[in-house]
C-alpha cells in the first residue's frame, strides 16, 4: 500500500498520470501565444521592418538589407528572452515549492540584488569584464542572498511565513542596494560597466551569451523536472513527505539549488528581472491546480511568453531606445503581488 502510494507521488508512473482538466486547452493556448510572442518580438521594435525584411532575415542569410540585419539581431535577442523567461518561470515555481510560500520570487527574496552586488563588486575590485565571469559572481551572490534571506525569514514561530520572507527580502534588498550604490559611486568605471550590465536587459542576447546560458538552463531544468514529483509530496508537509519516502532537507537543498542556478544565471546575463516567477507560476497554478509536474513545465512556457512580450512592450514604449524589460515585468507583476496579499487570509500571512 505504502509502496504504491510512493509510486504515485514520487515516480509519477504513466498509469498514475492524470492530466489536469484544462491541460490540453492550456497547452494549445500557450503554444499559440508563444508563436505570437516570437513573431511580435521579431517584427516589432524601435525600428519598423517589412514582411520582406523578416523573410530575408530569417531564411536567406545571403540577402543583405538593413531591415534583414535588424531581424537577425532580433532573432538572438528573442531566443535569449525565451530562455531567460523559461529560467525565471521555473525558478519561481521551484522557490515557491521549496519554501512552501506563494510569494517566493527571486526579485522579492532579494536574490537579484544579491547577484547585482557580487557583480558590481567583481567589476569594481576584481576587474571582471565578461559574461563568463559575471555569471559565477552572480550565482554566488544569488545563492548567498537566498540562504541569508531564508535564514532570517524562517526564524521564530511558524517558520518562513510569506510576510516574514517578503520582509526579510525587502530589508536585504535595501541593505544590498545601498552597498551597490556605495561601491559604484566612487568608481565611474564600475558605474558604467554596471549600468551597461544592468540596463543590458535581454538586449544583451548575443549568441555568446546564449551559449554561456544554455548549460545552466539545462541543469536547472533537469533538476526541476526530476524533483517535481517529490516536491508534490513536500507540499503535504515534512512529516507526510518523509513517510512517503522523500528526504525533505536534501530535496529542499536540491530544488533550491536548481532555482538559484536558474535565476542567478538569468540575472547574470540579463540583469535583474522581477516578478516573472510570481506571475507565471500563479497563473498556471490557478488554471492547472497544484500538481508541480504540470505547473513547472507550463510555468516555463508561460515565463518565456511573458518575458518575450514584456521585452516587446519595453522596446515599443522606450522607442527609440528601450525600456528595460525588468521595469515592464515589475509593472505587470506587482499587481499580482497586491492581489495575492489581498486574497490571502490574515492567518497565513
Amino acid at each position: 500500500m505504502t509502496k504504491s502510494m510512493n509510486n504515485f507521488v514520487v515516480s509519477g508512473k504513466k498509469s498514475d498520470f492524470h492530466l489536469p482538466k484544462n491541460f490540453k486547452i492550456t497547452l494549445i493556448v500557450l503554444v499559440l501565444l508563444l508563436i505570437a510572442s516570437i513573431a511580435a518580438s521579431l517584427f516589432f521594435g524601435a525600428k519598423a521592418v517589412s514582411m520582406q525584411d523578416l523573410i530575408d532575415g530569417l531564411f536567406y542569410s545571403d540577402r543583405d538589407s538593413h531591415g534583414a540585419n535588424i531581424v537577425r539581431k532580433r532573432v538572438s535577442r528573442t531566443i535569449f528572452a525565451l530562455l531567460c523567461g523559461t529560467a525565471l518561470g521555473v525558478a519561481g515555481a521551484l522557490m515557491q515549492a521549496v519554501t512552501r510560500n506563494p510569494l517566493a520570487d527571486p526579485s522579492i527574496l532579494g536574490v537579484n540584488t544579491g547577484a547585482s552586488l557580487f557583480v558590481v563588486f567583481g567589476i569594481a575590485y576584481l576587474n571582471i569584464t565578461s559574461a563568463n565571469q559575471y555569471i559565477w559572481f552572480a550565482l554566488a551572490g544569488a545563492a548567498l542572498t537566498a540562504i541569508f534571506v531564508f535564514g532570517i525569514g524562517s526564524l521564530g514561530r511558524g517558520g518562513a511565513t510569506p510576510i516574514k520572507l517578503v520582509l526579510a527580502g525587502a530589508a536585504t534588498t535595501a541593505a544590498l542596494s545601498s552597498l551597490v550604490t556605495a561601491i559604484m559611486i566612487p568608481s565611474t568605471y564600475a558605474m558604467d560597466q554596471f549600468r551597461f550590465w544592468q540596463i543590458g536587459s535581454v538586449g544583451s542576447g548575443t549568441w555568446d551569451n546564449i551559449m554561456t546560458f544554455i548549460p545552466f538552463l539545462l541543469v536547472g531544468l533537469g533538476i526541476a523536472l526530476l524533483t517535481a514529483p517529490a516536491l508534490n509530496a513536500l507540499a503535504l508537509g515534512d512529516e507526510v513527505a518523509s513517510s512517503l519516502g522523500v528526504h525533505p532537507s536534501s530535496l529542499r537543498f536540491g530544488a533550491a539549488f536548481g532555482g538559484v542556478l536558474l535565476c542567478g544565471a538569468a540575472t547574470a546575463l540579463a540583469g535583474p528581472i522581477g516578478f516573472i516567477g510570481l506571475l507565471a507560476t500563479h497563473v498556471m497554478r490557478l488554471i492547472l491546480g497544484p500538481d508541480l509536474r504540470f505547473v513547472i513545465p507550463m510555468s516555463a512556457l508561460a515565463g518565456a511568453i511573458i518575458l518575450t512580450i514584456s521585452d516587446c512592450i519595453g522596446r515599443l514604449l522606450g522607442s527609440p531606445g528601450e525600456l528595460e524589460v525588468g521595469i515592464v515585468t515589475a509593472f505587470i507583476g506587482a499587481p499580482i503581488l497586491i492581489l495575492l496579499a489581498k486574497k490571502s487570509k490574515v492567518r497565513s500571512l
Partner: protein
C-alpha cells in the same frame, strides 16, 4: 484631602522623573543638532572659523567665505535639519499609529508616490519647486488613499498592508524608471542625484516650502501628540478614553504625509530616516510621553551626521542617502530578526 495616600509621592516622583528625562533628552538632541549645524557651516574644502561664518551669515562680505557659507553650506544645512525633522516625525507617526516599527512611509509606498510626482515634475513638466512640493503632497496622499482602499479587508492586518505597500512600491519605482528613460540626458542626472537622497546643490530658494511646512505644522504635535499616544492603546481603549479616533487618525495621516512628501520633494527620499528616528527616540526617552518632537530631532541629527560622514569620512563624497542606507539597512535586518524571534510577525 487625598494626598495622604502613602503612594502619592512615590508615584509622582517616578512620573516626574520620566518627564524630566523627556525634557533632558529633547534639550540634548536640540543642542547636538545645533552643534552639528555649526560643523556643517564650518567644514568643507576649507575650514572656516566660527566668527567668520557668523559674520558672513549676517551679511558681511568676506572673500571666499561668503560664497561657500551663504550659498552652499547654509542651504545644505537647513535642508538637512528640516528634511531630517520631517522624515523623523512622519515616520514616528505612522509607526506609532500602526503600532509597528516596520510601518513607515517608505514601506507604505508614500515616499515612492511622492518621488514619482517629483520626477515627473522635474523631468517632464520642468515646473517650479513649489509645484513639485504640491504635486508630491498630492501624490503622497493619493498613495495613502490607494493603500487604504486596497488593504481594507474584513480585518486589518499589518502584514497585508506591508505586502501591498511593497507591490505598490515596485510599480511606482518601475514608473520612475520609465520616466527617466523618457527624459533628456541633463534631466536624468539631476533626477538620479535627487533619487538617491542628497543635500548636494540644494539652493536657498528651494527651501521655503519645506521650512514652512515643518514650522507651520509642528504645533499639531502639541494638539495631537497625546491623542497619538492614546491611539497606541488600541482603537477601543482610545475611543473609550474620549479620543475621537477617526478624526485624530485623519489629521495625523495628512500631517505625516505632508511632512514626508514635502521633504521628499526637496531632498529626495533619504533612506531609512523615517524608519530609524522613531525607535531611537523611543529608546532615548521612554514611550510614556509623546515622542513626536524627539523623533523629529533624532531625524535631524541623523541626517546631519550622515551628511558629514558622507562628505568627509571617505576619499569620495557620498550623498547622504547612501550613508543612511548603510546605517539603516542592517538595523532593519536586526529588527526583523528580533521580531521574528519574539514571534511578532
Amino acid at each position: 484631602m487625598k494626598s495622604e495616600l502613602t503612594n502619592f509621592h512615590f508615584i509622582r516622583a517616578g512620573m516626574q522623573k520620566r518627564r524630566r528625562r523627556w525634557l533632558f533628552v529633547t534639550a540634548v538632541l536640540t543642542i547636538s543638532a545645533c552643534l552639528l549645524c555649526c560643523l556643517m557651516l564650518m567644514l568643507g574644502n576649507t575650514i572656516y572659523p566660527v566668527n567668520e561664518v557668523v559674520r558672513s551669515l549676517f551679511g558681511e562680505q568676506i572673500q571666499g567665505v561668503t560664497f561657500a557659507v551663504n550659498t552652499i553650506r547654509f542651504p545644505r544645512m537647513l535642508a538637512g535639519v528640516f528634511a531630517g525633522f520631517a522624515f523623523g516625525v512622519g515616520g514616528y507617526i505612522f509607526q506609532t499609529m500602526l503600532r509597528n516599527p516596520l510601518a513607515n512611509p517608505n514601506v507604505l509606498g508614500i515616499t515612492s508616490g511622492s518621488s514619482v510626482a517629483a520626477v515627473f515634475c522635474i523631468t517632464v513638466l520642468h515646473t517650479s519647486n513649489a509645484v513639485v512640493s504640491v504635486a508630491s503632497v498630492g501624490a503622497g496622499l493619493a498613495t495613502v488613499l490607494v493603500m487604504y482602499v486596497l488593504s481594507k479587508g474584513k480585518t486589518f492586518s499589518i502584514g497585508r498592508l506591508i505586502l501591498i505597500g511593497i507591490g505598490i512600491q515596485a510599480m511606482l519605482d518601475a514608473f520612475i524608471s520609465y520616466l527617466l528613460l523618457l527624459s533628456a540626458q541633463q534631466d536624468i542626472s539631476a533626477a538620479l542625484l535627487w533619487l538617491s537622497g542628497s543635500l548636494n546643490g540644494v539652493q536657498l530658494s528651494e527651501l521655503p516650502p519645506l521650512m514652512l511646512t515643518v514650522l507651520g505644522l509642528t504645533p499639531i504635535a502639541a494638539l495631537y501628540g497625546k491623542q497619538l499616544n492614546m491611539l497606541e492603546l488600541g482603537e477601543q481603549t482610545a475611543s473609550s478614553l474620549g479620543v475621537a479616533t477617526n478624526k485624530t487618525r485623519l489629521v495625523l495621516i495628512v500631517w505625516a504625509v505632508f511632512l514626508v512628501a514635502v521633504a521628499t520633494a526637496t531632498t529626495g527620499p533619504i533612506a531609512f530616516i523615517s524608519f530609524l528616528a522613531g525607535p531611537i527616540a523611543n529608546r532615548l526617552v521612554d514611550i510614556g510621553a509623546s515622542n513626536i518632537i524627539p523623533a523629529g530631532l533624532v531625524g535631524a541629527n541623523i541626517v546631519l551626521i550622515a551628511d558629514l560622514i558622507g562628505q568627509f569620512a571617505f576619499e569620495y563624497r557620498f550623498p547622504v542617502g547612501v550613508i543612511t542606507g548603510l546605517i539603516g539597512a542592517p538595523y532593519l535586518i536586526y529588527l526583523l530578526i528580533k521580531m521574528n524571534r519574539k514571534g511578532e510577525l
